[in-house]
Assembly symmetry: C2
Homo-oligomer: 253 residues x 2
């Protein structure tokens, strides 16, 4: 049984905790957070503490806190020579303090408090300083996911950047779509089947094989009509930028 301590109480911490608790191979011996209120959201069978000096012995300590807090927090941990990992996509492994053995346990997914998640399909990207620790992390990853990968800090940074495009930026485009419909009192629900199918397509087809629309076919009349509709819109520039990028991609630029 792998013993883990979770340090943090945000979305990643709570979703990871739930997945570990559901697994037979992992025991969450403790969750730490300085704020007692934040710990109320964790399963009652899990021991919690608000005091770092009380943290229990474990095989792996998982820091799941805001990116910029990782470095100072890992420095202040009152433990030594333990395996301490962070869960960040964008921070290098060596941001962690030298007082412990370092590692990364990065689940490549978007987490919301309000939405349950199936961990089994989530890619978990691992990094460690040595083979033994990597094996330990692999065991932890395998306990909750079918898709565990070894990815170094450099590649993980690129992965995180790509994730910003397909998650943060895509979600922003959903919001633009929603806003445009709102102007005409049209329901965002109308776009939901299209959004679903757009995402479903790339499970089997390459994005380049799914590209359609006025920019791809260089339909200048429709593009002109759209720009006319966006005359006083804050989204006009973005429309032009994305249209131009697609046109160039298909040699219309």
């Amino acid at each position: 049984m792998l013993k883990v301590v979770i340090l943090g109480a945000g979305n990643v911490a709570s979703h990871l905790c739930k997945a570990f608790v559901a697994s037979k191979e992992v025991s969450v011996v403790q969750v730490y957070h300085r704020n007692k209120k934040s710990l109320h959201f964790f399963p009652t069978e899990v021991d919690t503490t608000t005091c770092l000096l009380d943290i229990k012995d474990a095989d792996i300590y998982i820091i799941a806190i805001a990116d910029d807090a990782i470095k100072p927090f890992s420095k202040g941990l009152p433990i030594t020579k333990k395996l301490v990992v962070h869960t960040s996509g964008s921070k290098a492994m060596n941001k962690l303090s030298n007082t412990n053995r370092k590692g990364v346990f990065y689940p490549l997914q978007t987490f919301s408090k309000k939405k349950a998640i199936d961990f089994s399909e989530i890619p978990i990207c691992l990094e460690a300083e040595n083979e033994t620790d990597l094996k330990l992390l692999k065991k932890l990853g395998d306990a909750i996911s079918k898709n565990v990968q070894i990815v170094n800090s450099e590649k993980r940074a690129k992965l995180h950047l790509a994730a910003v495009f397909v998650n943060n930026f895509v979600n922003y485009l959903y919001q633009v779509g929603s806003d445009l419909l709102l102007e005409d009192s049209l329901s965002f629900d109308l776009l939901k089947p299209l959004i679903k199918e757009t995402a479903a397509k790339i499970e089997t087809l390459k994005p380049t094989d799914c590209q359609t629309g006025p920019a791809k076919r260089n339909d200048l009349k429709t593009i002109e009509n759209h720009l006319h509709l966006l005359e006083d819109s804050p989204y006009r520039d973005l429309y032009q930028k994305l249209t131009k990028a697609i046109q160039q991609n298909y040699n219309h630029g």
Copy 2:
């Protein structure tokens, strides 16, 4: 039994034909396309013709061809006073010739030759010149979808514009993500669960409630790191543009 003639043989035409054939309330009496080869993809039980003078009598004639061809094609139809509709999101109803009764039957979805589709969830946006024709189109829509709406040309244009953002532009961002990973020999498969979840979230949550990432939380250090990674990339401008848009949206601009 509603009798329809489909004029066209592309993705929309073939998917609509399949859905109508599967419905008990619609009879596809004929499919027309000038090119015999294109008609091979249609079900064998459906009558086809390459000659406009041979088109059969029907309740509704559905023009499912390239947007810019709609106007001249509808003018050249050797029928009069029939209900003739197009399936375009961006073309106004009055692009159709006055020689027949006009209407629009716009399925708001992305269609690929290679991927089957469930029509029942697809919003179908209708428009007609009078109540009788609208009822006829409603009956046709109800035969294949649970989501039939009446949407005039002006609103439909806006809907189509919003669809460009959440489909064409989103798919382009998938491609950017795929390209960025390719540079580091990382598989696009790593992003697929994230893409799926990003789309799944907005089925129950508003896009503004799903927004996360460095731009939303004004994490300037991570943004700087990303720009550094994109130093010689064609995607740098787009990253900046989208980041700025999100920052402004959350009052960081």
